[in-house]
């Protein structure tokens, strides 16, 4: 299946992926609506800008994910290879944050967990990838 892969040597550290992700999942009609608001994207840029190393981190959609096996609410599962969360069941205990070895999960504004679902609910190609100006993240088969 297709996943998001990172080419860190191309990452500009521009954080556009974070904004495109937050916008895609916001229900807003215009990205300008995010201006001045704290965003809660499902992808985040890590690294050291001074050293010139930056890269985007989002869910790896592991083939045998620890978060699924560890969720105390049975809220995380696999659907056609995509690791998805049922926010109705999540209670915000953060056990998934404690176990994800990639540090890919963070809660939403309401304290309930959210995660990258490859924009399966947003119509196709992940918004973070579509908006990346330098192909530092790609949506591809391995």
């Amino acid at each position: 299946m297709k996943r998001v892969y990172v080419n860190e040597e191309w990452c500009l550290g521009c954080h556009l992926c974070e904004y495109n992700c937050a916008f895609a999942n916001s229900g807003l009609s215009d990205i300008a609506g995010l201006r001045g608001r704290r965003i809660f994207p499902r992808i985040h840029v890590e690294g050291d800008e001074k050293e010139g190393i930056t890269f985007a981190v989002s869910c790896r959609h592991c083939t045998d994910p620890l978060c699924v096996k560890s969720c105390i609410a049975g809220a995380i599962s696999k659907r056609d290879g995509v690791t998805v969360i049922n926010r109705e069941k999540c209670v915000g205990c953060l056990t998934c944050v404690l176990v994800c070895p990639y540090g890919a999960l963070s809660p939403g504004e309401d304290g309930i967990m959210q995660k990258c679902e490859l924009c399966t609910e947003n119509g196709g190609t992940p918004a973070c990838v579509s908006g990346c100006p330098n192909r530092a993240i790609v949506y591809a088969e391995e």
């Binding site: 990172v6 592991c62 049975g74 209670v91």
Partner: protein, 411 residues
Amino acid sequence: MNEYVIIGNGVAAAGCIEGIRSADSEGRITVVSEERHPVYCRPLISYMLEGKTAPGKMNYRDEGFYERNGCRVIYGKKAVSLDPVKKSVVLEGGEELNFGSVCVATGSSPFVPPFSGLETVEKKFTFMTLDDAEALKNAVTGESSVLIVGGGLIGLKCAEGLHGLAGKITVCDLADRILSSILDSGCAAFVQKHIEEMGIEFMLSDSATGFDGNTALMRSGRKVKFDVLVLAVGVRANISLVKDAGGECGRGISVNGRGETSLPCVYAAGDCTECTDISSGARRVLAILPNAYMQGHAAGVNMAGGEEDFDCAVPMNSAGFFGLHVMTAGSYDGECDDMSPESGIKRFYVKDGYLTGFILVGQTERAGIYTGLIRNRVPLSEIDFELMKKIPSNLIFSSKIRKKRFGKVVK
């Protein structure tokens, strides 16, 4: 055709069912469920009190789970004995089930010390099952004074759950601090202060020795009035089936990474077992949900003739108390690196060049990066340890490792 019997119907049993089915789609599976509920998320009972979830949303698997996996579930019956030679399990009422292999996933039970006068207390509860939580919810009103005996995870999550329902909540514990099994004094005091600010009262280094109706007689000589009593002193692994059959047990049923007990064709998984904690090398009961699922799954795969070794068990907990998150993992017997900021706690424990444990309070972002270092026994010489102590980031790994983590399919 293989005959599988699973005794217990919690998360370890669910893992076992899924493990069996990953290797054998044909064999017959019989599940013995003492509780009259399909598998549900036991750790959510405090969230149910709080209103953050409801019984209808607490199911661990969907409605078609047992049918899809070809399981027969016997509800409301307890297994009373296990015969590893005859390969049979006897249920209360006398029904006998024969097995090719069996998984004992009987969980744990609340430990209730022999308090004098406990029988004179009208409204008393333990806090372990969905039925316990529903009964407790029905017994508490806005005027109730609740006394919780036990300041561990169960007692404190219960206190949080009851906060909006009860008039007054007091927690007592014989230990000198709360959460004594996972926090040292400094960390415990920090968390305690936060919980006290929400109006919960504590009586530490003191506990009930007996009861007289609605009065608890404390070790210190004090008397505490209450309307509702919750006993959350601790839990004991349910080991008797295997122990009575001659299987090796410590505090829990002794299992290896494959879920095997010392008895042939008898497997065990979850809170009733003890296994090797790789962060310390010690044999321990690791009564946590992720462990239960993974042990159950490994047992199931091996019962069905496959190969799975769950060999990276570590203790770990993530729990929020009134918005303050506490995460702990591993063991604390190494050298402590205290990186605590003013607003929280961040402590790392290091031994022989490996991260063995950590305590995080309030600063829990991306903590799984740390847990991964413990679980995967990553030598600290291979990462940027100084950076790791400051921020949890994938930058601690070399670019080569990062390429594997983010440029490939990962397990």
